[in-house]
């Protein structure tokens, strides 16, 4: 066990954990933040995607020791009130069905939008193709991502 200090959704966080314990399980079991989902455990499905220093990363294969000193953002910290353009667009377009993969979809989409303000379909394919949805919400995700880009432009940078 070792103490790891990092920033979680804008606040300092300390956890005492086995260094190899994946960030996913620290979030879910130790900290009770269950918005980040377990899907495959092998970085194959994207359900566990969080931002580490602004980059989308798979928390299921990220040992807690690797986030020491870094800024981690989870779905719970994306906005305080579902006001991130991606969340607003996801609500407008009613994207989720079962919803289980959507935390990961949203975190991946938010990262895309932060670096590409007006993503093309090809940009979306490239960024999103490693996030699996078994309900097949892909067309809604694509539409919502384009809509989120519009909302972001209309509301200024975020």
């Amino acid at each position: 066990m070792a103490a790891v200090n990092f920033t979680l959704n804008g606040h300092p966080q300390t956890v005492d954990a086995v260094p190899a314990m994946p960030l996913l399980w620290v979030l879910r079991d130790t900290l009770g933040m269950t918005g980040t989902k377990f899907g495959c455990g092998m970085s194959l499905c994207g359900a566990c995607t969080v931002h580490i220093d602004g980059q989308p990363q798979r928390s299921c294969v990220t040992p807690i020791s690797a986030v020491a000193g870094k800024k981690v953002t989870t779905i719970e910290g994306l906005s305080p009130d579902r006001s991130h353009p991606i969340q607003m667009a996801w609500i407008e377009e009613d994207v989720p069905q079962c919803g289980y993969c959507q935390s990961g979809q949203i975190m991946t989409a938010a990262a895309l939008l932060s670096k590409t303000s007006n993503p093309t379909d090809a940009d979306i394919d490239e960024a999103m193709r490693n996030n699996i949805c078994r309900c097949g919400t892909y067309e809604d995700i694509r539409r919502a991502l384009h809509r989120a880009a519009e909302l972001k432009r209309a509301g200024g940078a975020r």
């Binding site: 086995v18 092998m42 009613d94 989720p96 097949g136």
Partner: protein, 693 residues
């Protein structure tokens, strides 16, 4: 920081007492006895603050049931849609003796009963208002969560009437609205469950947290049906965080203070298995057993029309074909899991399940307590697709929790989920067909071999019950079961048999030099609804219009779960790869509750069926599943999703199902389109590059 995050961080700071705060709001509401006294019937509770709580006795796996059943209730209740909240109640006889979501039944089984429940509650509120005003009920009208006194214009809110209304007897024989008066039903409504699914606050089964809860994983025999011979848990028990190791009927459970610790402990277990007889089976041998059974013949017929053998003998042109499909895993995004707390006086189970009634029964059986001592907490499902209609994982969790004395959450890894599934059966079908001198099919025989969990019915559906009036037809069925567990998989037997039948009909059409839509038209002439659905799809898809070189269109017709769907796929094939560009789907599912929900489910079913057509396949080696994760069991990705156009046939006929409507038709529509594009006939799924080269 919002309230939820605030609660989380303060609880985390308190250390260990993480609980309570994370319980879904609905359970806190249940504890509110003042509000509970305002329950008007099993489905409707009106709070003093005007919130309306609707108890959804089914379950939500993405199919939109929470929203569509709320619409049925709210339509007659005349409540303010923006003030609705929903809860999943426990298992209760008040809901008719069966609670579960299987067979795309939720709307069909609730269309009238939930409107009745909403109307009955509304009448109680109106009666309470009439008594308060001292006027006749006929002078009162309900609208948007208020009762209006039509003489004076006075209004009383539902919240102010709820307590009095709850004391009134439920009225008998409440008149339901004429559909022409509907304000909600039949309109596209936003899903009620979206907000919690975009901020991480929705609690799925896997997210349940309880005071003193422990976490477990189970090492199961890699061979189906195998049992534990012996095990050494010395190193597992020495793993940090591991609390105990227990043998259960199907394996060895490691119980720890986190999921990760349990997984780490499990890796250090040493288990010797008695593998049992399924270890003798591998996919090539299973396929051979299917082929042998069909070659041997002599299976009882599942349906016979006319004299297919005689018609075949006299046909101008004959064709034969063998079609095959593999076992398939369900692979819902939320791996199986279940949380159970077994106490001497009762059992509580928190689980994402399609089968609440069965959950209660298995928990009673495994705990030795009567069913009325078992409380089932229905959680949102991260996908079900039929897998969560099984209760094996629930019984297993109860077994694990029995030894612990505290709540235990059993989580399956992705590999556990994929290797201990109850699979869509692998299947094998040999067809013979004959066309007459004018090119029309006149004879069609089918012989199917596959394992079954429900006899010939589910094993031949999609062939046996086709709507086509082919004059001479027969199908027989051989139950060949190597012991791999099989069960319901979205659309069940149609998932393979529709691929077989709609592909072979296409073969017969081409053999006779006929247009595939024209052949279907001929044999659907006596089925006006299906024919109209076909015509709508053909028109919207531009059937017969030119396409670029290397492209093709394919059609499929399906009549399942009380609904009709016709799909026309547009594909292109290049360098051994198929790209599905567009799918037009016309659907007649009778009276529609939520058109937006229908469109979602059509696209969803297509994505599910397309994954199976292009990629899906579970193979067996020495009784073990070879695939374990999404690297070897791939599914359709965003860049492979076709543009799906849904066209709903307006109808006031009885509602059909929708969740499984579009899954069967996509594989044959795509494969028929591949034939149109390339002349290559796909007779085995998933489609392999060599089949297209």
């Amino acid at each position: 920081m919002n309230r939820r995050n605030f609660l989380r961080s303060s609880a985390a700071a308190a250390g260990g007492l993480l609980i309570g705060c994370y319980l879904p709001e609905r359970r806190r509401l249940s504890a509110d006895t003042a509000a509970a006294s305002n329950k008007l019937n099993a489905w409707v509770l009106v709070g003093n603050d005007d919130t309306v709580t609707l108890y959804i006795h089914k379950a939500e796996m993405g199919q939109g049931t929470v929203t569509s059943l709320s619409m049925l209730l709210a339509e007659e209740l005349e409540c303010d849609w923006s003030k609705i909240r929903t809860e999943f109640p426990g298992v209760d006889r008040a809901y008719g003796g069966f609670q579960g979501v299987v067979g795309s039944q939720s709307i069909r089984s609730s269309y009238n009963s939930l409107r009745q429940a909403g109307a009955s509650a509304r009448e109680m509120l109106v009666e309470a208002a009439a008594q308060k005003w001292g006027v006749d009920k006929s002078a009162c009208r309900a609208e948007k969560s208020t009762v209006v006194n039509t003489a004076s214009g006075a209004r009383l809110t539902y919240g102010s009437l709820a307590e009095a209304a709850a004391k009134l007897p439920a009225p008998a024989n409440v008149a339901l609205k004429d559909p022409s008066q509907f304000k909600i039903v039949g309109k596209s409504m936003k899903r009620l469950d979206t907000p919690g699914k975009v901020d991480g606050s929705t609690t799925f089964g896997i997210d349940v947290r309880l005071p003193n809860m422990l976490y477990a994983v189970v090492e199961r025999c890699p061979v189906f049906g195998g049992t534990v011979a012996s095990f050494d848990d010395t190193k597992a028990k020495a793993t940090p965080g591991v609390k105990s190791v227990v043998k259960i009927s199907n394996g060895v459970a490691v119980i720890a203070d986190s999921t990760w610790a349990a997984m780490e402990g499990r890796r250090k277990l040493v288990v010797q298995w008695d593998e049992g007889k399924v270890a003798a089976f591998s996919t090539p041998g299973i396929t051979q057993a299917f082929a042998d059974a069909v070659a041997q013949g002599g299976a009882p017929p599942a349906r016979t029309v006319g004299d297919a053998a005689a018609a075949l003998a006299g046909a101008a042109k004959k064709l034969d074909a063998v079609y095959q499909t593999p076992y398939l895993a369900h692979a819902p995004m939320e791996p199986l899991n279940c949380t159970a707390w077994v106490r001497p006086d009762g059992v509580e189970v928190w689980v994402s399940t399609q089968m609440q009634s069965g959950a209660q029964q298995i928990a009673a059986q495994k705990s030795g307590l009567p069913a009325q001592k078992v409380q089932i907490h229905t959680e949102y499902m991260g996908g079900g697709f039929g897998r969560r209609g099984g209760v094996d994982y629930i019984g297993e969790a109860v077994e694990v929790a029995k030894s612990a004395g505290v709540p235990v959450k059993v989580t399956w890894s992705r590999e556990d989920d994929m290797r201990h599934d109850t699979y869509r059966p692998a299947s094998y079908c040999r067809f013979a067909g004959g066309v007459d001198a004018e090119g029309w099919p006149v004879a069609w025989t089918a012989s199917i071999a596959c394992p079954s969990f429900a006899g010939a019915n589910t094993s031949t559906e999609g062939v046996r019950d086709m709507a086509y009036t082919v004059p001479n037809f027969s199908v027989d069925y051989h139950n060949v079961d190597p012991g791999i567990p099989v069960s319901y998989w979205r659309s069940v037997g149609y998932s393979q048999n529709t691929f077989f039948a709609e592909s072979f009909l296409d073969e017969m059409a081409h053999a006779g030099g006929k247009d595939p839509v024209e052949v279907r038209r001929r044999f659907l002439a006596k089925n006006p609804r299906l024919l109209a659905t076909l015509e709508l799809a053909a028109e919207k898809a531009g059937w017969g219009k030119p396409l670029p070189a290397g492209w093709g269109r394919g059609v499929s017709v399906v009549n399942n779960i009380g609904s009709n769907t016709v799909q026309i796929a547009e594909v292109s094939v290049a360098k051994g790869k198929v790209k599905v560009h567009r799918v037009v789907c016309a659907v007649d599912c009778g009276a529609v509750v939520n058109p937006a929900g229908v469109a979602q489910q059509i696209a969803s079913g297509i994505a599910f069926g397309l994954s199976a057509a292009l990629k899906g396949g579970v193979t067996i080696k020495n009784g073990r599943v070879e695939q374990g994760n999404f690297d070897r069991y791939d599914v359709v990705r965003i860049d492979e999703m076709p543009n799906v156009e849904v066209h709903i046939v307006p109808s006031q006929a009885a509602s059909g199902g929708i969740g499984e409507a579009s899954t069967p038709g996509i594989a044959p529509a795509v494969c028929n389109a591949i034939f149109a594009a390339t002349g290559k006939r796909i007779r085995q799924l998933p489609i392999r590059p060599e089949d297209l080269a």
